[in-house]
């Protein structure tokens, strides 16, 4: 651990010059797999753009935290998931959900509060889940998911399964007590969890400089004896390379890892955040978009290595637009949950009490 900081500098120097797509974990990707990465990134973008449109039309209520600009992070990491791996994140969860393979229809319908939504309209934008795909939410309380992520990894170790849990959190979430408690616990117990700080520079309207005393967030790992690293989040190949190192380490060594990924969100904190050009400059947003847009970066690389052509890239884009539009139509036409659904899915035992064996009153409605 003591030499982590110094070796890190050396690694960063050399890695800047190297193309991440040539590293082993990326070089081994088939053409189809690379196209799939592109389809996922584009899919997230088009889905969210369509959801924003629906929000502005008044079809979606509540909060809508868009992931636009950060897509390469979830896409890259989910592409590395092995059989026993699990992920969990906060409320900015659409990208992670689509990346694990949830379909646009169920995700859009959930935003509309419809019965066909992934949570039957009970969770909303911030609370997507797909346990069958290793995706455990979708959590609305800042950093509330961090001990849960540790628990998923604890269960793997307890059951003797080789795997890891990846727990995503924001640059604001690192200042929650529950996260710091969890860092100590996972290091003390040797829990195979990778915490990925998606550092988009802002927690709501507060810049990193105004919320964290020390600018390097991952470095906090050192205080707990946790190995850490940082990388950029606009290039899916860079994300994959760094996350692969972290996830492999967690699985092989049964130890936690703290990975800080610098990224950027183009939109406001949520759609309701109309002031997002007041706490940052328009120029800052435009510069990132111009130089580091994860879709553009990937498209250029894939055209350069002949995985895609301009035309085939456009085709994917068009296909995802159509899929997103169709999901909005599906959501629109779906029914709201019936009133009887209000008290379903509260207790497992009630939902499964097919032979009426349960004793006592569970709900207290006159």
């Amino acid at each position: 651990m003591s030499s982590a900081a110094s070796t890190k500098k050396a690694v960063r120097k050399t890695s800047k010059k190297r193309a991440y797509e040539t590293s082993e974990i990326n070089a081994q990707l088939s053409k189809e797999e690379k196209i799939e990465l592109y389809r996922t990134i584009v899919g997230i973008r088009r889905f969210e753009e369509r959801s924003l449109q629906a929000y502005n039309q008044g079809k979606i209520g509540g909060f809508l935290h868009l992931y636009i600009g950060q897509e390469a992070v979830a896409t890259g990491i989910v592409s590395l998931m092995e059989e026993n791996d699990h992920i969990i994140t906060a409320y900015r969860d659409h990208g992670h959900a689509l990346a694990v393979g949830m379909n646009m229809n169920e995700c859009m319908a959930e935003l509309f509060g419809k019965y066909t939504g992934c949570s039957k309209g009970k969770g909303g934008s911030m609370h997507y889940f797909a346990p069958d795909k290793g995706f455990w939410g979708g959590h609305g309380i800042v950093a509330g998911q961090t001990p849960l992520g540790a628990g998923l990894a604890f269960a793997l170790k307890y059951k003797g399964l080789k795997g890891c849990a990846v727990c995503f959190l924001g640059d604001g979430a690192v200042n929650q007590g529950s996260f710091m408690e969890t860092l100590n616990l996972v290091s003390l117990w040797g829990i195979p969890v990778v915490f990925v700080i998606e550092n988009n520079g802002y927690s709501m309207g507060t810049s990193l400089k105004r919320s964290s005393a020390e600018e390097s967030l991952a470095k906090r790992g050192e205080a707990f004896g946790i190995k850490w690293d940082t990388c950029e989040g606009h290039d899916v190949f860079e994300v994959r390379e760094k996350a692969n190192e972290a996830m492999t380490y967690a699985r092989d060594e049964l130890k936690p890892f703290l990975l800080e990924i610098r990224t950027y969100r183009y939109r406001g904190h949520s759609v309701a955040d109309a002031n997002h050009e007041k706490y940052r400059t328009k120029e800052e947003i435009e510069t990132y978009k111009k130089n580091k847009d994860p879709i553009n970066v990937l498209r250029k690389k894939l055209i350069a290595d002949k995985t895609l052509t301009e035309a085939s890239a456009k085709e994917i884009d068009q296909e995802k637009k159509v899929e997103a539009d169709a999901s909005a139509k599906f959501a629109e036409e779906s029914p709201y949950p019936p009133k009887s659904e209000l008290t379903n899915d509260v207790y497992w035992t009630v939902d499964n009490d097919t032979d009426q064996q349960l004793k006592g009153t569970y709900f207290f409605n006159d």
């Binding site: 009970k122 540790a150 269960a155 307890y158 529950s178 408690e181 006592g360 009153t361 207290f364």
Partner: protein
């Protein structure tokens, strides 16, 4: 039947469930090497080792949340709170995550954890260590909560709680840990949602839970001896789910009810019971429902005053006489 302590009964339940199911493990501060702050887990670490009996740092939010996350993948952790008062620093984990994850996922997951530990006053430790949050728990659909008043129930309810596929809080009581009751040697469980008629009676129903059930029973004996009042004593055992039928049947028989609990009165468990009785047995009542709760102030340290603050025989008898007047 052997006489064993409340503490021993809980330990037996934990040990039996650890033996029965390899996914059951115990997590908490001082539970392993130190044998438990209140010695409830004494000897378990020696017998079952590090995998099943796990000492945690003083990080209630982290280890509660970790238990919840682990339970999503089929581990069945029993989390010890050294005092239930300390669950407040894990509030988000227990009251958001344990309670609502199932709902927010539309039923895609469940959280089979047990949160157990002492939840009582009367121990001369002041306001921060004397919470009785069964009302808070019961206010969160998705959570279940039981309050065993004796060793038999403590063992039986604990076993049910561990086998339950939902999060269950088991509210114990430090003043009961050393008390003894008859507990059978054979395996048994006490189902959630079933109240216990501790004493049958015809003049008035005393409806209560936790250690107050034992105090109410003594009060009922005094009422019989000194006042010729035949009180029925109902021990709720389980708060959520709640055995409404037993409550209502008793009130329909006696036509009067005194509710006794250690909770503070405002939004205490008995506020709900009181509503239930007036709503579903209004025509059967011959007097307003009376309540004996902890006197409505932060828990006082000073011993003689604290003994007066939480329900005692004297206050219960006074309330019963008022209700019958």
């Amino acid at each position: 039947m052997p006489l064993i302590t409340y503490r021993e009964a809980i330990k037996q339940a934990l040990a039996e469930e650890i033996e029965r199911d390899e996914n059951v493990c115990i997590l908490g501060e001082e539970v392993a090497q130190y044998n438990g702050a209140y010695k409830v887990t004494e000897g378990l670490w020696d017998k079952y080792g590090d995998k099943r009996i796990i000492d945690t740092p003083i990080s209630e939010a982290a280890f509660s949340g970790l238990a919840i996350g682990a339970s999503m993948l089929g581990v069945r952790p029993v989390v010890e709170m050294m005092f239930m008062s300390f669950s407040y620093v894990a509030f988000d984990q227990l009251f958001n995550n344990a309670s609502f994850c199932r709902y927010m996922s539309g039923g895609l997951m469940n959280v089979p954890i047990v949160v157990r530990g002492p939840a009582n006053g009367g121990t001369n430790v002041g306001a921060t260590h004397s919470h009785t949050p069964e009302n808070l728990v019961a206010n969160h659909p998705g959570l279940k909560v039981v309050c065993p008043s004796n060793a038999y129930d403590a063992k039986g309810l604990m076993k049910s709680a561990i086998r339950d596929n939902d999060p269950v809080f088991v509210m114990e009581n430090t003043l009961l840990y050393g008390e003894k009751w008859e507990v059978p040697e054979e395996e048994y469980v006490v189902e959630l949602g079933v109240a216990n008629v501790l004493k049958e009676g015809s003049d008035i129903s005393i409806i209560t839970h936790g250690r107050c059930a034992m105090i109410s029973l003594k009060a009922a004996e005094i009422l019989a001896e000194k006042h010729s009042i035949n009180a029925e004593v109902i021990d709720l055992r389980s708060i959520r789910p709640l055995d409404e039928t037993t409550i209502l049947n008793s009130v329909k028989k006696t036509h009067r009810a005194v509710l006794v609990e250690e909770n503070k009165p405002f939004c205490g468990v008995d506020a709900q019971i009181s509503h239930l009785i007036q709503y579903k047995a209004f025509d059967d009542l011959d007097a307003p429902v009376h309540r004996v709760s902890a006197i409505d102030a932060p828990q006082i340290y000073s011993k003689p005053l604290e003994d007066w603050q939480i329900p005692n025989e004297e206050r219960i008898i006074e309330s019963v006489l008022k209700c019958l007047a």
